[in-house]
Amino acid sequence: MSVAQVKQDALAARIADLSFAEKGWLAAPRRAALDRLSAVGLPGKRDEYWRYTDPAALNAPAAAPAALFDPGDEPQVFDQIDRVKLVFVDGVFDAAASDDPRLSGVEIERLTEVATRDSHWASGLYGALEARGQNPVSRPQAILNTAFATDGVLIRVTGQAKKPVSLIYKQGSTTSDVILHHCIQLEAGAELTLLENGAAAARLNTVMEVEVDDGARFHHIRGQGRAHERQAVTHIFARLGKESSFKSFTLSANGRLTRNECVIEMTGENAVAHVAGAAVGDGDFHHDDTVFLTHGAPGCESRQVFKKVLKNGATGVFQGKILVKQVAQKTDGYQISQSLLLDDDSQFLAKPELEIYADDVKCSHGSTSGAIDETALFYLQSRGVPKSIAQSLLVLAFLAEAISEIEDAEIAEDIRTRLESWLERHER
């Protein structure tokens, strides 16, 4: 059997049980996505873009069961933050558990409810940025999402949102297999902070398309984790207008398989894009950050800061790319990916790429990997700090650069506390 045939068969099996809802304006982008998906097929282990992460579990017809996670009395990330909560249980919006979605300057709607409404603003966005993000590398899991997403939110921001909007994903069943698709439009000068957290599902596939118009500001802070057996592939597709700002931070703790793809295109002058992540993994943990950042206009600034702490055979992956087009003179691009391996079984695999076609640019990337600094550890111990605390201190110091990418001090503190608590629980 040919490779192409195998891929086609795998795709047929993957989508056999998915429902293809063709309603209203959603029908066209979904049908187009299905065609695109048939053309590229599902990703394979031999695809260069999946060199370090085996997509088999994401391609499988059914999700591998994942035990429900009981946090006990441990506070959840963002619990202390005043926010508008939107709750999804196994990928289905739960109005009863959610807050009143009315917020000044922000329109929040449910994807499944507005599909039949004519000339909806999201009809031009749904699947559009995702499709743009398929070049030069295809992202079949995102296409699959566009074609088969079962729910999601549509958020249009016209002013300054007074408080963050928070998406909370709860897992109800051990075999839940969830596909969510969100569209977010920030009009000129608008500002929104979006929070995401929760175990979500045994298997989760999300796409978030974010259009940031001129001068708008978007902050995204995400907490992934605690439930250990979950598998997830997430995608953010963003387009940035003139002088706009996009900042995204992800905290990942545990999770059997996580692939976070982030595709950002700066099309307006002087836009700013920051993507950061702190991942801590213990044992059966595979975490992959894949970022593709395009400088398509002059004077833009981008920063990528990714830190991973790995132990007991955990694997960390980083694939980051900065593409600077010829028009993008005066680009300032920075990328750092670092891992701290706490024992000999863990591994870090990185492919930090630069592709540059403009000459007046300042671009740099760095990548390091190594163990905890023994001299620093010795120093702290010699000052009377017990080894385990000294180690936690050094780990937190290592992660600090990524956490400092969060602008909101209260949220940053919350993330730091969650990390400390994780380290305490995973001392051994």
Partner: protein, 502 residues
């Protein structure tokens, strides 16, 4: 001309620009030697492989080895993952074997070699006389001498200092000769670093390689002089496929230099070489290359397509290898000299300057495979793009679980001259144990205006100023080259960039 002059940046005088324009695309070695050649029929088939083997008077096992490679190659697909854009190569539309007619009877000594051939190398600055001159640098007799193996199209025309090297126990001869005279060594090591099945171009080479150099340094011997091979492509429509095999036995040392040039032609020519280095316990090999194949003209016509597989295997503990390359020529460069650090405490180093101007495309870098404990590697890569060229660094650093306490440091810097070119960095970093440390950093920038301004204010013209700044940018690599090459490389850096400013 007027429109060109309109483009001139402020402060650059007309004369400078005109001189630069006149020099653009100048390639010193673009002439051709008129000499009667003997060709194998065009195209590639089992018969051609047999013919090459027969011309080299090879034993049966060698022919079988070649045929096995050929049969494998037919099944393979040409790799296209590199950031290179070139028209499909028609492997049937070229000659795989070309030798000067005068070489039909193997000359017994250098005195019998066709004077035309000797003159060719003389003109290239590589006199095939047993004296100590290379690239115009004179060294007092007896101090630093260089033994040369000269390869002209498909055959080696002569090797100097053979007898003297023999006294030290060093074998330095064409590989065609080694296959006949030292079959045991060749059988043991050929293909042991770059197996026949390694990659498309290495497999092609395994089938059709016609000559190249063979070096064996016995245990405990420090090679009394530098060894070098000079490759010259002269014939039209002819691919050059040479194979180099260097074996450094325990506690030995050798420094090996490689140079290459080709005439200026409109049609691109193929060069697919394989270099294998075997380095045993406590031995050290330095391998330096100045690659100056014809790069094609300003419109991108012609030039050499250079697909090379180079690999060193540090088999013994404390073995050491150092690759240094200055890549200024070739229309297409596809080359990744690699180090397999198998022995404990072995070391690999890679220093590279890759310059791409006009429509040149280079995709080059290295692989450092750390297998042994406490192995060390260092990568310093300087890429320079000018004109409409594309320059890519592609590298792999891999720390295996057993390579405890190993170290790697990688630095790759790119310099862009002009806004029509591209500079790319594609590193792969794979760390599979925690006692090893890996550090990678890369930067991309343009030639610093302040530095240029300073040089200009001291009376240099822009061209000179850029060459000086670029030489400074490359300094770390230039310093790693043997002296004879460093001089040549330095002026090459300047020549390759001629016409890139203004």
């Amino acid at each position: 001309m007027t429109e060109v002059i309109d483009d001139i940046r402020e402060g650059v005088d007309r004369e400078t620009i005109e001189t630069v324009q006149a020099m653009a695309g100048k390639y010193k070695y673009g002439w051709e030697t008129a000499i009667e050649m003997e060709y194998a029929p065009k195209g590639l088939s089992e018969d051609i492989v047999r013919l090459i083997s027969e011309k080299n008077e090879e034993p049966e096992w060698m022919l079988e080895w070649r045929l096995a490679a050929y049969r494998r190659w037919v099944q393979m697909e040409e790799p296209r993952w590199a950031m290179l854009n070139y028209p499909e190569i028609d492997y049937q539309d070229q000659y795989y074997y070309a030798r000067p007619k005068s070489m039909a009877e193997k000359p017994k000594s250098l005195d019998e070699v066709d004077p035309k051939l000797l003159a060719t190398y003389e003109k290239l600055g590589i006199p095939l006389k047993e004296q100590a001159i290379l690239a115009g640098v004179e060294v007092p007799e007896g101090e630093r001498r260089v033994a040369v193996d000269a390869v002209f199209d498909s055959v080696s025309v002569g090797t100097t200092f053979k007898e003297e090297l023999k006294k030290a126990g060093v074998i330095f001869c064409p590989i065609s000769e080694a296959i006949r005279d030292y079959p045991e060594l060749v059988k043991k090591y050929l293909g042991s670093v770059v197996p026949q099945s390694d990659n498309f171009f290495a497999t092609l080479n395994s089938a059709v390689f016609s000559d190249g150099s063979f070096v064996y340094i016995p245990e405990g011997v420090r090679c009394p002089m530098e060894l070098s091979t000079y490759f010259r492509i002269n014939a039209e429509n002819t691919g050059q496929f040479e194979r180099t095999l260097i074996i450094a036995d325990k506690k030995s040392y050798v420094s090996y230099l490689e140079g290459c040039t080709a005439p200026k032609r409109d049609i691109a020519q193929l060069h697919a070489a394989v270099v294998e280095l075997v380095i045993l316990e406590d031995a050290e090999v330095k391998y330096s290359t100045v690659q100056n194949w014809f790069p094609g003209d300003e419109e991108g016509k012609g030039g050499i397509y250079n697909f090379v597989t180079k690999r060193a295997d540090c088999r013994g503990d404390r073995a050491k290898v150092m690759w240094t390359q200055v890549e200024t020529g070739s229309a297409i460069t596809w080359k990744y000299p690699s180090c397999i650090l198998r022995g404990d405490d072995s070391q690999g180093e890679f220093y590279s300057i890759a310059i791409a101007n006009n429509l040149q495309q280079a995709d080059t870098g290295t692989k450092m495979i750390h297998l042994g404990k406490r192995t060390k590697s260092r990568i310093v890569s300087k890429g320079i793009s000018a004109g409409k060229a594309q320059n890519t660094y592609r590298g792999l650093v891999s720390m295996h679980p057993k390579a405890k306490e190993s170290r790697n440091y990688t630095q790759c810097d790119s310099l862009l001259i002009g806004d029509q070119c591209g500079a790319h960095t594609v590193p792969y970093i794979e760390v599979r144990n925690n006692s090893s440390r890996v550090e990678h950093e890369a930067t991309t920038s343009k030639v610093d205006d302040d530095q240029l301004f300073y040089c200009r204010s001291r009376g240099m013209d822009e061209e000179e100023a850029v060459a000086l700044v670029v030489n400074g940018f490359c300094k770390e690599v230039l310093q790693a080259l043997p002296m004879e090459f460093a001089m040549e490389a330095q002026s090459l850096v300047a020549i390759s960039l001629e016409g890139s400013v203004g």
